[in-house]
Symmetry: C2
Subunit: 163 residues, 2 copies
DNA sequence: CAGGGAAAGTTGAACCATCAACTTTTGTCG
DNA sequence: CGACAAAAGTTGATGGTTCAACTTTCCCTG
């Protein structure tokens, strides 16, 4: 926004919607983090990394791709993979076809960890989000978040490739 | 969720809605943070603290209250107020009526800072969120986030008192 | 085929949030 | 009235995130 344009402030309805969305954006991640930390000893990001790997072919993904799927930077992912390796849930392997590429492979222990954590995590999501909404609202939420995502990520860098 | 109950997994529609919401939850804060950091040298939380103070009577609030309004813990707020004091935007004052209470007061420099930062911040919110939505969707978003908030914060601890 | 630039990762430093322990003040209940 | 518990803040340590600098590999072009 440039200084030349006059600010279009939020009207009453927009303000209410914004306060609500801001609240959800701040509280929901912290609730999910607490639950996962308590029940599985994982952060949401760590869980996402393991979960994405568990659904990938051969439980293997290039770090670049994994970073996008988990909505995080490559640097952040690299640090996290180092930690997950130390806990024995993930293994790094260099790519044979391209020397720049490193892939992450989910170990059997890592797979077991995801399976053990998924149920209660999904339960929390259902309880906090979907149990609060009507089926019609679920559809509305899908459309609304898609449209916002198109603004936040116009290049589709964080879009799931085919999922 | 207890082990005894079977997990109700997300159906296709819910899964799409969840991926969208999760994306917004992860990306929107980082976009807002970048904008504020670049244009004003503030984090979102710091901005929220200053903004809440600017709208309060006498530009003064008890730390406990301010923490709830800004959706943060008391500890986090205490650290932030220390930083904001060093930059001259906020002043701490002990309460005369209750020795346990500390209030934060927005200085004139702090008020000027909020005014200078608000316009471009609101511009970003409008651009990323409301310009992407129809008026009907704004209403839907308000209802949806209210209902989720009621789950996340059943006691209404993070509800704005009267705003 | 040589060199420059882009792509993919890694690493260390600086910064911020969280957690637990601690201090001070107030209220309450024998 | 004395003591104990709760409330409000503060503080230091710990751990995770970000940012910028750096390495290695690959691609492309002259």
């Amino acid at each position: 926004m440039t200084d030349a344009e006059a600010t279009r402030w939020l009207d009453a309805g927009e303000r209410e919607a914004w306060l609500g969305l801001a609240g959800v954006m701040l509280l929901l991640p912290s609730v999910l983090d607490s639950q996962l930390q308590r029940d599985a000893g994982l952060s949401t990001f760590e869980y996402l990394v393991l979960a994405m790997l568990s659904e990938a072919p051969a439980r293997t993904l290039q770090l670049k791709t994994l970073a996008a799927l988990a909505n995080g930077s490559l640097s952040r992912l690299s640090h996290v993979v180092t930690r997950l390796e130390k806990r024995g849930w993930v293994r790094r392997e260099p790519s044979v076809v391209d020397g720049r590429i490193t892939v992450a492979v989910l170990t059997d222990e890592g797979y077991a960890k995801v399976v053990a954590s998924a149920s209660s995590h999904v339960g929390t999501v259902r309880e906090m989000v979907f149990d609060a909404l009507t089926p019609a609202q679920v559809g509305q939420l899908r459309d609304i978040s898609r449209q916002i995502m198109r603004r936040l990520d116009p290049e589709g860098r964080y879009e799931p490739p085919t999922a």
